[in-house]
Subunit: 395 residues, 2 copies
């Protein structure tokens, strides 16, 4: 049986991470995606980051399973081709700035005229209107406006920093993928094809909020304020590096003392029952654990923590992630060879379906790799394809 | 018209963030959710973080729109109640450790026996088998194993740190919500009800990968390695704080020089065309901008950057996020009053649907708030409800 979204056809005109990644999640579940790329160099991320032989890693990672056609949307014949694609599609996705789709004649009304049941998805930076609507937005800007950067401040690292991956772009992508799927589900049950709108500012805030904004969720001065989990996140120094552990039960907290051979303290009255939450006893425990870890190697500390069932991990460098035994066991990383751009790795889609198992997906396409095949699907013969190419309408 | 998932019934037995947040995203789109909570205090997150009058902020933020019933699953009559709920449901969601569901008689086979078309969703920490499968997992552990912590290292902040929000929990939640929706879509089109499996290790890695693992995506020594975007993320010091800006086009890069009144440099030959990417010219630009910003206030720098169309933002503290003009304009934060736990804020679901607009959702439930109503729905009369309560089967 094919993937859960088999038979769904998507036309995507979008760039970089937010919308391309969202659509890739759907492609990995069996949706057929045509990516329409601008003329000359194709999608913007083909010009960014690490690359080899016509493929950039950022494009690679956000575009597996799609087909690519190069189209000049500013030419009437280019727009007409997109309308032909949309006529046969279920979903259209764009992440232009507000107003661009309409200016190109590819707004919701124009597309719904050729396909009334279309799901039309738009991703903007700040929203379609409002004081910042005309600004260009990028991930670090949204991190600054929605609380991520403020949260990175902490007593041990008194220099603020950003989250050093595009968390807002990716939160938007995941929310987009779910919302498109929900709109398709609703349509199966009789709802019309509809417009699904997201913006990165709201999506960034919504992703940060559930644990990040705990101090602002219940409003008033009478809230009992205990530590926010993220504020307790810490790296613990060892003799040769750092380790991360997270003791959340009383048993795990006592076990941290046994890790550093302080069974005497673990068995003392101050580390039992309600006495454990008294500040002096918490501080005594933390000090003993810190002192003990500072005399152990990370490898020793990790081994003892796992033996004593304290949730813990060393900080894996990126090459180590690839060979972590559980990640290898799970088959989370897939390595393959492309005839043009060579050996590459991709990460497996996180959800596994017991029945709807998608076929192995195509690797990310070279720019315009499928232009001929897509035009042929639309019924354009070789002479017509040659004409469109010569005119610069397609590439 | 109701939300896109109106009519979908979900039974959830899960804790803290990963699965509860995923299910809440579905509730916000109109799914009817019954949350089955363990006896005594209810779900674990009710005991954590900031709280007032029977509500903890962490529970509040991950459980809007659900109904709550307290059930002792270790008692046969408690299990029988869950089976009654599952018989009428479309989806069952649990995030127990591998094997727990089967031990409680609530594994896939047992539930499918009463409801063959059920979508059964499980979320584990590390996967159902493999070397770490028996370990308890928490967000900071997964961050350490999947590359997030390693990526936080950078030249300006040479002390490693974690991402200080539960990014892996939330990535898992979003992937879960999408996967359940995809399984429901497939079922509408004739696929069987199926088992959807996720684990936090794979979900954490999948979320980090698209931009975080750029150096490991194309494999080999012949890859042209330019900077990974997250490595270029930086806070720029001003006279009174920091500012974040992201100049990605040549025009924006020249505009950063105009922000600091260095039009002379912006107009020089070294800041035009291909000369801009020569290292000496890049360094000259960066030095001039840093020097200029160090003599401006953050407010002045921000105003000038916006005027000159350089994407930029100040670092908003969490109270400032709530009053940011665009966030207010978007209505991204909703404030309301609950009769018991009082004033609270919630963040609006990021996707907006043009046709399937969900009704205003119920606030997060008090523990066992809906026990009577749910038992009544199942046909248990007042005397039977009293008996179950007296036996300690429900609360």
């Amino acid at each position: 049986m094919p993937g859960p979204l088999a038979g769904v056809r998507i036309v995507e005109v979008s760039e970089v991470i937010s919308a391309p990644l969202g659509v890739m999640l759907l492609a990995e579940q069996g949706a057929e995606v045509v990516k329409v790329e601008p003329p000359r160099h194709g999608e913007e991320s083909r010009q960014l980051s690490n690359y080899r032989d016509g493929m950039a890693a950022l494009f690679l990672n956000n575009n597996h399973g799609k087909r690519s056609i190069g189209v000049d949307l500013k030419r009437p014949e280019g727009r007409a081709l997109v309308l032909e694609l949309v006529r046969r599609a279920d979903v259209f996705v764009q992440n232009w700035r507000p107003g661009t789709a309409e200016r190109l004649g590819l707004g919701e009304a124009a597309l719904r005229a050729v396909n009334p049941e279309l799901v039309y998805a738009s991703v903007s930076g700040f929203g379609e209107d409002g004081p910042y609507a005309r600004r260009r937005g990028y991930d670090p800007i949204f991190q600054s406006l929605t609380g991520y950067v403020a949260a990175q401040l902490n007593p041990e690292v008194p220099i603020p920093d950003l989250v050093r991956n595009a968390v807002v772009d990716k939160a938007t992508a995941y929310a987009l993928a779910q919302a498109i799927t929900a709109a398709l589900f609703a349509r199966e049950r009789g709802a019309p094809g509809q417009h699904v709108r997201l913006n990165m500012l709201d999506a960034g805030l919504a992703f940060f909020w559930p644990d990040g904004m705990l101090r602002h969720s219940l409003v008033g001065d009478d809230v009992a304020n205990y530590a926010v989990p993220g504020e307790r996140y810490a790296l613990s120094p060892t003799k040769d590096g750092q380790i991360v552990f997270w003791a959340s039960t009383a048993e795990q907290m006592r076990a941290t003392l046994r890790v550093v051979s302080r069974d005497d303290l673990a068995d003392s009255p101050g580390q039992q029952g309600r006495a454990m939450i008294e500040e002096a006893n918490q501080l005594a425990r933390a000090a003993a654990v810190a002192e003990g870890l500072s005399r152990m190697t990370t490898a020793d500390a990790y081994r003892r923590m796992i033996d004593l069932e304290v949730p813990a991990a060393p900080i894996l460098g990126h090459p180590e992630v690839l060979v972590d035994p559980q990640i290898v066991h799970n088959g989370a990383v897939i390595e393959a060879v492309h005839p043009v751009y060579g050996r590459y790795r991709r990460v497996r889609s996180p959800a596994r379906f017991s029945a709807s198992v998608a076929d192995p997906i195509r690797p990310a396409p070279l720019y315009g790799e499928d232009t001929d095949a897509i035009l042929e699907d639309l019924g354009h013969d070789a002479a017509e394809r040659e004409r469109l190419r010569a005119l610069g309408v397609v590439r």
